[in-house]
C-alpha cells in the first residue's frame, strides 16, 4: 500500500465510522459497535506495551479498573464530571503502572506476564473488600444529571461517538509514538534487548515509559465503560477475562501494528455477541473456550495476526503480478 492509498483508506474509514450509527439504527447493534470501539481502544492501549515493547501483560484490567473506579468515585463523592475524572484516572493508572513496572520488569518473559496476573488478582480482592468504594456491591453512576458534561445519556448514539473519539485519540497517540524515536526504541527492545542496550537504550527506562502510556489509555477505557454501563463492581472491571480480551483482540488482529486491535475487536466482539445471542445470557463460559481456541490457532498458524497475514498475502499477490 502506498502512503496515499493508506491515507485515502483512513479518511474514508473515518467518514464511514461517523455515519455508521445512522445506517445501523438498532440499539443492540449500536451497542455492538460501541463495544467494538471500546475493545479496540483498550487493545491499542495494551498494544503499546504488549505489542511494541513485547512485554505481555495479562493484568491490564488493573489499569482499566483504576480508571473506572477513579472517575466513578469522584463522580459519586464530589460530583466531578467524568471527563475530568477520566483524566485523573488516567494519571493515577499511569503512576500505578510505573510502580507495577518498577516491580514486575525485574521478571523476564513469562514471569513478567505471571506477575501482572497476580497484581490484577490482588487488586480485585482489595477492591472487593474495600467498603469505601462499594466493596463487592459495586458503585452506581448517579442519574440525576444527564448530558455531555455528566456523560450520561438515554440513547446509544452519544456513547458511540465518545467511544469513536477515545479510540481515535488513542490511535493517534500510538501513531505519534510509532513515528517518534520511542517507536524505534520500543521495537528495538522487543527484537533484541541486548543489542538495544549496546546502543544506549536503557531497557527499564523505556519499558516504564511504555507502561505509563499504556496504563493511562487503558484507564480512559475504564472510565468510559463505567459511564456506559452506569454500574461497576470488581466482577465487571477487574476480572482477568478482560485482561485476556485486551491482549487477544491485539494478538488476533496483529500485534505491534496500529490497526491490529480494531480488526481483532471487530471479529472477537462479533463472535462473542453471536454466541450470546445463540446461547443466551453470559454464553455459559463459551467465550473462554473461544479465547483458548483463538490463542492456539493464532499461535500455530498466524503468529503475526490477521493484518500480518493480509500483508503477506498482498505482497505475494504483488510479487506474482510483478513476475508475470
Amino acid at each position: 500500500m502506498t502512503p496515499k492509498q493508506r491515507n485515502t483508506l483512513i479518511v474514508s474509514g473515518m467518514g464511514f465510522a461517523l455515519v455508521l450509527p445512522f445506517i445501523v439504527s438498532n440499539p443492540s447493534h449500536q451497542n455492538y459497535l460501541i463495544l467494538v470501539l471500546m475493545f479496540a481502544q483498550i487493545g491499542v492501549a495494551w498494544n503499546i506495551l504488549g505489542g511494541y515493547v513485547g512485554q505481555v501483560s495479562l493484568g491490564h484490567v488493573a489499569f482499566f479498573g483504576i480508571g473506572a473506579y477513579t472517575s466513578t468515585v469522584l463522580l459519586v463523592s464530589v460530583g466531578l464530571s467524568p471527563w475530568i475524572g477520566m483524566l485523573i484516572g488516567g494519571v493515577v493508572a499511569a503512576f500505578f503502572g510505573l510502580l507495577i513496572g518498577w516491580i514486575c520488569f525485574r521478571f523476564k518473559g513469562h514471569y513478567f506476564t505471571m506477575a501482572t496476573i497476580a497484581v490484577a488478582e490482588i487488586l480485585q480482592v482489595l477492591f472487593t473488600n474495600w467498603e469505601g468504594v462499594g466493596g463487592a456491591v459495586g458503585l452506581y453512576v448517579p442519574l440525576d444529571q444527564q448530558g455531555w458534561w455528566a456523560m450520561v445519556f438515554n440513547s446509544k448514539l452519544p456513547y458511540y461517538y465518545i467511544a469513536l473519539g477515545l479510540f481515535t485519540v488513542t490511535l493517534l497517540a500510538n501513531w505519534a509514538i510509532e513515528k517518534s524515536f520511542l517507536g524505534y526504541y520500543f521495537r528495538a527492545i522487543k527484537d533484541d534487548p541486548e543489542a538495544a542496550r549496546s546502543l544506549g537504550v536503557s531497557l527499564t527506562d523505556y519499558k516504564l515509559v511504555a507502561i505509563a502510556i499504556s496504563s493511562f489509555f487503558a484507564a480512559l477505557g475504564g472510565s468510559f465503560y463505567a459511564q456506559k454501563e452506569l454500574f461497576i463492581d470488581p466482577g465487571s472491571v477487574l476480572v482477568t477475562s478482560l485482561s485476556i480480551k485486551m491482549s487477544l483482540v491485539t494478538i488476533l488482529g496483529g500485534i505491534g501494528s496500529l490497526f491490529g486491535p480494531l480488526v481483532g475487536s471487530v471479529l472477537l466482539t462479533g463472535i462473542e455477541e453471536a454466541t450470546r445471542q445463540i446461547l443466551g445470557g453470559s454464553g455459559m463460559g463459551i467465550d473462554l473456550i473461544i479465547y483458548a481456541t483463538i490463542i492456539i490457532a493464532v499461535a500455530i498458524y498466524y503468529p503475526t495476526g490477521i493484518l500480518g497475514w493480509a500483508k503477506r498475502f498482498l505482497r505475494r499477490g504483488k510479487k506474482a503480478e510483478d513476475g508475470a
Binding site: 524505534y184 521495537r187 527484537d191 541486548e194 543489542a195 549496546s198 546502543l199 536503557s202 505491534g256
Partner: protein
C-alpha cells in the same frame, strides 16, 4: 598521545571459571589494537566487561580519564564505547536503515536527523543499496557491516569489533580491512578481536595476546608473530 582506554588488572570469574585474570593494557585515541588468542581465551569476556555487559570481578577500566568500571552498557554507549557482537544481533523486524537509526538516536532523538545520520553510515559501510531491506534478509557479511554501521551511528570514540571477519570470503575480508582503515581515519579507535590473521595483522598498531584468560604477550604485529610464547599457545605446546 593521550590514553583513551586504560584497563588495569582486570579479572572476571563466572563461579569457578576464571575467564579473565590480571589483564592490563591501554589504548590511545585513534589507535587500532588487535586482541587475539585461542578459542575460550577470554576475548569476548574482556569485550563484555569493557562494553558494560558484565561487571568485572576485579580491576578497573578507565575511559577518557573517567573510572567506568561496572557501568551498565547503555551508559558505556553514552560515554562513547560502541560494540559489535560475535554472533550478530540485528533488529529483525526493522529494515537495515531503521536498525542504524536506532544507533543514531543515541545522540539526537529527532527521527529525520537520525534518518540522515543513518543513511550516511550505511553509505560509509557500503550498504546503501540494502537500506530498505529487512535486516533479517542480509547475508552474513552484510549483517556484520550493518552492526558496524549501527555502532558507528552512536558516534563512538572507541569501537569494539568482535570477530567481524569470521566466516567471510577472502575478498570480503579485504573489504572489511578497508572499512576498518577508513574508520580509523575518522579518528575512532578500534579494539578488534580477530581470528583471521591476514585480517588483523596488516592494520593493527598494537597486538595483545590472551591465553587461558591471561595476557601472555603484547607488541607490534611483527613482534607478536615471532614471539615463542605466542607460537606455543597457538600451536598447542
Amino acid at each position: 598521545m593521550n590514553k583513551l582506554l586504560v584497563v588495569d588488572k582486570l579479572g572476571k570469574h563466572f563461579g569457578g571459571i576464571v575467564a579473565n585474570e590480571d589483564i592490563s593494557f591501554h589504548l590511545d585515541a585513534g589507535q587500532i589494537v588487535g586482541l587475539i588468542g585461542p578459542n575460550g581465551a577470554g576475548k569476548t569476556t574482556l569485550f563484555n566487561c569493557i562494553a558494560g555487559f558484565y561487571p568485572p570481578s576485579e580491576g578497573t577500566i578507565r575511559f577518557l580519564g573517567n573510572d567506568i568500571t561496572g557501568m551498565p552498557s547503555p551508559k558505556m554507549a553514552h560515554m562513547g564505547i560502541a560494540r559489535t557482537f560475535q554472533i550478530v544481533r540485528s533488529f529483525g523486524s526493522m529494515t537495515v536503515l531503521e536498525n542504524v537509526m536506532v544507533g543514531a538516536m543515541l545522540r539526537n532523538k529527532s527521527v529525520s536527523i537520525a534518518h540522515e545520520r543513518a543513511s550516511d553510515e550505511l553509505e560509509f559501510c557500503g550498504l546503501s543499496s540494502r537500506a530498505s531491506v529487512p535486516a533479517s534478509d542480509l547475508t552474513v557479511a552484510e549483517q556484520r557491516r550493518l552492526e558496524v554501521a549501527r555502532a558507528l551511528a552512536t558516534e563512538p570514540h572507541l569501537l569494539l569489533l568482535d570477530e567481524m571477519m569470521a566466516g567471510l570470503t577472502p575478498s570480503e575480508v579485504q573489504e572489511a580491512v578497508g572499512l576498518v582503515k577508513t574508520i580509523q581515519k575518522r579518528g575512532i579507535a578500534c579494539l578488534i578481536v580477530e581470528h583471521v590473521m591476514e585480517g588483523i595483522m596488516p592494520i593493527a598498531d598494537h597486538m595483545i595476546v590472551l591465553d587461558y584468560g591471561r595476557k601472555i604477550a603484547e607488541g607490534t604485529p611483527a613482534e607478536i608473530s615471532c614471539d615463542p610464547v605466542v607460537l606455543a599457545a597457538y600451536l598447542g605446546e
